[in-house]
């Protein structure tokens, strides 16, 4: 069974550590050139290959990623 996912990143509280980028099996996440109000380069999604596995979210030290998932 295949799944389709979408993550929502609380970019204002992301610290740009890059741990989620490493954890994503689908290479969905990159660190943005833009910064949040704390000056951190936050992460954003760069493709629509997300499978909703939550790997990124469970390694995020700051717990800023929420994961949504549907069957397809």
């Amino acid at each position: 069974m295949a799944f389709k996912g979408q993550i929502v990143i609380d970019t204002e509280h992301c610290k740009g550590c890059g741990v989620c980028v490493e954890a994503c099996p689908m290479k969905c996440i990159e660190i943005s050139k833009n910064v949040n109000s704390k000056g951190y380069n936050y992460t954003h999604t760069v493709n629509d290959k997300c499978i909703g596995c939550a790997s990124c979210a469970i390694v995020c030290p700051d717990g800023v990623i929420s994961v949504y998932k549907v069957k397809c």
């Binding site: 939550a54 390694v59 030290p61 700051d62």
Partner: protein, 276 residues
């Protein structure tokens, strides 16, 4: 790129647990303390024990842990968390009591409290964040610093003749009859986070059995103290920390695991690391 059709409450599969407050953690980007906090909070949430859990925070980077957990908390003097937790648990035997401590707190200044709480078999859970360094105070050598590892107080690397051996306090505690569960985990990859969370769950569940102390070491990175990026620090940890601090259960249900031979417990020749 957002697929907004999917972003609906009924499709939510993961979000930060409500047992963590909305306060922004003061930890450096990529620090394992945040992930360790979250899995403890998730276990408290899943066990439905938020109103019956009391944490004890240390001195070290996680001194402010009480700002992040939405449960009762007591701050202990440096290293004394297991003594404070002992009193809390004895006065509130129906509560779930845990300490959260770094390696400087638990294995240096607090060694006596750690060993005696374990040896008394207190029915508490101890969570031990071993990052091989004093993170909070600027990266000085800890008892757990690896041989050859550079720190603010070992700028040319730790030397056995001068600084002694890395202290594997987790193995040491496993030899005491008062410990019921002793394990070493990490939180740097999704698979490791899942295993570490299962270990914390077991360590909390064990409190119901009243058979002794449960001890979960989380071997963690301190990218600021190690002077690396968070991703580099996690890689360095795999290559250098894990050979000295092997992951996995050491003692389960009061018995040493089958793979824990005398050689594995003692590791008489600590490996030397070479860092920048």
């Amino acid at each position: 790129m957002a697929n907004l059709d999917i972003v609906k409450p009924e499709n939510l599969v993961y979000t930060k647990t409500k047992v963590l407050t909305d306060n922004v953690m003061h930890y450096c980007p990529g620090c394992g303390h945040g992930t360790a906090h979250r899995i403890i909070a998730e276990v408290i949430d899943e066990m439905g024990i938020q109103d019956k859990t009391i944490g004890v925070s240390p001195v070290g980077c996680s001194v402010l842990a009480y700002n992040y957990f939405d449960v009762d908390f007591q701050e202990a003097a440096h290293g004394r968390a297991p003594a404070v937790a002992t009193a809390i648990k004895r006065l509130n035997p129906d509560c779930f009591v845990f300490t959260y401590q770094g390696d400087g707190d638990l294995a240096a200044i607090g060694t006596a409290e750690t060993i005696h709480a374990a040896n008394r078999g207190e029915n508490i859970t101890m969570v031990f964040i071993n990052n091989g360094i004093y993170g909070m105070t600027g990266g000085q050598m800890a008892p757990t610093t690896l041989v050859g590892m550079k720190s603010a107080t070992t700028p040319y690397g730790r030397r056995v003749d001068l600084n002694g051996y890395p202290l594997r306090i987790t193995e040491l505690l496993a030899t005491l009859p008062g410990t019921y569960y002793v394990t070493r985990q990490s939180v740097h990859t999704p698979a490791n986070v899942r295993k570490a969370k299962a270990a914390i769950r077991k360590a909390f569940e064990n409190q119901k059995l009243q058979k002794g102390l449960s001890f979960v070491e989380i071997c963690s990175s301190c990218n600021s103290g190690w002077k690396m990026t968070p991703v580099q620090a996690n890689k360095w940890m795999e290559e250098n920390m894990f050979p000295n601090y092997p992951l996995g259960d050491i003692k389960v249900d009061g018995k040493l695991c089958e793979n824990i031979t005398a050689d594995r417990l003692v590791l008489d020749h600590p490996l030397t690391v070479v860092n920048k």
